[in-house]
Symmetry: C2
Subunit: 357 residues, 2 copies
């Protein structure tokens, strides 16, 4: 079992509330329907996530949601290490699901959180993760309303796996989807790509650069709300390029919309240290995962408006227009390189970087 | 990694659709954002779960739900073995979440499904599990609208872990909860207890009886709908006694409602083979998990009506009235034994039977 801790989180300052302190590590009994499990809920999860729906502690959370179309998204998080520069599995578990709802045009509202804990996992690390989830949920403006905890024996997990599932209310008048990109549309990205994947890989591979590569892990619902307020009708497709990176995301859109996508490779923002790390590991930034970036495909006449709205937001300062949707080479992603050549960016077969999220 | 298969499921008759057949086992690449992951979705998950919301394949599912109060419930399933007499992790993953919504007074509607697969897990087993999920969802009348797949390295999982999260619409005029039991209320259980836990333990321990103990794994939303239609206003509390069994469930209700609960031990239905297996393993059936039973706490004047509605349903034929809510011994569960003595049934500390669900 990995017990990585972040340089930025001092676990020694956290003390377990009694009676959890009697168990410094997760034991199988924490997964049973008894006192130990209840103590985790009462002393750890409830204080961190407190809200009316959760406090009821029924088999399901109950809440009101204005009528309308709902969006629902689920993700399990198995990232290693659990803490990394710029984030943690806890922050990722909240932001990942928030972003999936946001790029679907929904306002994220309520999340569930389910933990699969490995026997022997230090309770102090679980507490630090739960606090990261609590902080991320507050920042994103969502509530964790229901949860579950299971424990598996040593050697059948990896510290902790977290599932979050979220529901949100679809914004009225918004119609976005991977199949709605149209020839002529502009393609924008909200900032530098590859930061998350290379932050994880730098820790795993022990790479050192002049500056530390930090994950871009962030909730994008605020940024996306601004874009939709300014130019909602003009936004045809939004996606967050996580696993498989920008390459997978844009390939999927090209297939779903039966269009070609032409990128200007020089326009794609990449941090110099991320580019160096990619070169060192033989990776292409377009295939590397992001956890706080979104790609927007918008009607060309609104591209400038969307770009300026993005750049006005702290999470979009380095947003850029990177390409165009075309009738040429349908279902293919083609990049014009700095040398002026064209190269096809294929969808990857698997994943270059396992357990990145 | 365990590769148990059920006697009742002939995996040899299932053939992987191409091109999945090229990979008889899960590889790390199935968890990436590329072709291999997409093939799992297109050739395995979509055909099994097909519905309009899922087919959209966006980052989130989108669906309409009539306005009102919503219920949301999440559960991760880590049961071993994956297939057992009367069920599988697949059926359990659907029924468990359906039941949590149903006992909360909601009509289960939409489920997410998220898989954590261990590298090397046979694809044929995954397909069998997915087919069990599909069948269970059809029986329960719910749709699987969104999903996720992650892959972890060998030795960091146990074949497959599944999270399901469900949303449902709360029935109008129904107000149930663990804190709403009232002195004088009757306590009913929908059938024999301990079947699920002892079915699992019999397989694990290699116990043989004259008859095979089968899990009671079933969706209770139909049964519960009948009860609520007949006597909705009189139902104060409903719970499905899973982990920790009837003992945990009733103890939690006694605490939440600040009441005592008096059981007539002779009235609690237990199958003879389950009782024998419990005696052999030194277990008490009241602590053993159920996956197709519900406990109802109802106003005494409606107890007979609820009992007859339960007994008229195929899943409630052996329903029984087993006790009374009392002002005596608040926050305690006390059973009158066959000998006429009283014994306190305490909440368990942990779980006698790990990874039962």
């Amino acid at each position: 079992m990995t017990t990585d801790t972040a340089a930025t989180i001092d676990l020694s300052t956290w003390s377990c509330p009694l009676p959890l302190a009697d168990y410094p590590e997760i034991v199988m009994g924490h997964g049973g329907g008894g006192k130990l499990g209840n103590e985790l809920v009462e002393h750890l999860f409830l204080p961190a996530f407190r809200n009316a729906a959760l406090e009821n502690l029924g088999d399901a959370a109950v809440f009101d949601l204005a009528s309308g179309r709902l969006a629902m998204s689920t993700d399990s998080f198995v990232v290693q290490p659990l803490f990394f520069p710029g984030g943690s599995i806890g922050a990722l578990a909240i932001n990942g699901t928030v972003n999936d709802l946001a790029v679907s045009g929904a306002e994220p509202k309520f999340l569930s959180a389910s933990f699969i804990l490995e026997e022997g996992f230090p309770l102090a690390q679980l507490a630090a993760i739960v606090q990261e989830m609590s902080a991320a949920a507050k920042t994103a403006g969502v509530q964790i309303v229901t949860g579950d905890t299971k424990v598996v024996e040593r050697g059948h997990g990896d510290g902790v796996y977290i599932n979050t599932t979220g529901v949100g209310l679809l914004r009225a008048g918004i119609s976005v989807g991977p199949a709605l990109a149209e020839p002529g549309d502009a393609i924008l990205v909200s900032g530098t790509i590859g930061d998350h994947g290379m932050a994880i890989m730098s820790v795993r591979e022990g790479l050192e650069f002049e500056s530390q590569i930090r994950s871009d892990c962030a909730a994008l619902n605020g940024l996306i709300a601004n874009v939709l307020s300014a130019a909602g009708g003009a936004v045809h497709t939004m996606r967050d390029p996580t696993r498989g990176g920008l390459a997978s995301t844009l390939n999927e859109i090209a297939s779903a919309s039966n269009v070609g996508i032409a990128l200007d490779e020089r326009a794609i923002p990449v941090r110099p240290d991320v580019r160096s790390a990619c070169e060192l590991l033989g990776l292409d930034p377009v295939y590397v995962a992001n956890e706080g970036k979104a790609a927007f495909i918008v009607a060309p006449e609104c591209a400038d408006v969307v770009l300026s709205v993005l750049q006005a937001h702290p999470l979009g300062r380095e947003a850029a227009r990177i390409g165009t949707v075309t009738t040429d080479h349908p279902r293919m992603l083609v990049a014009r390189t700095a040398m002026g050549a064209n190269r096809v960016i294929a969808i990857p077969v698997g994943e270059q970087l396992p357990r990145i999220c």
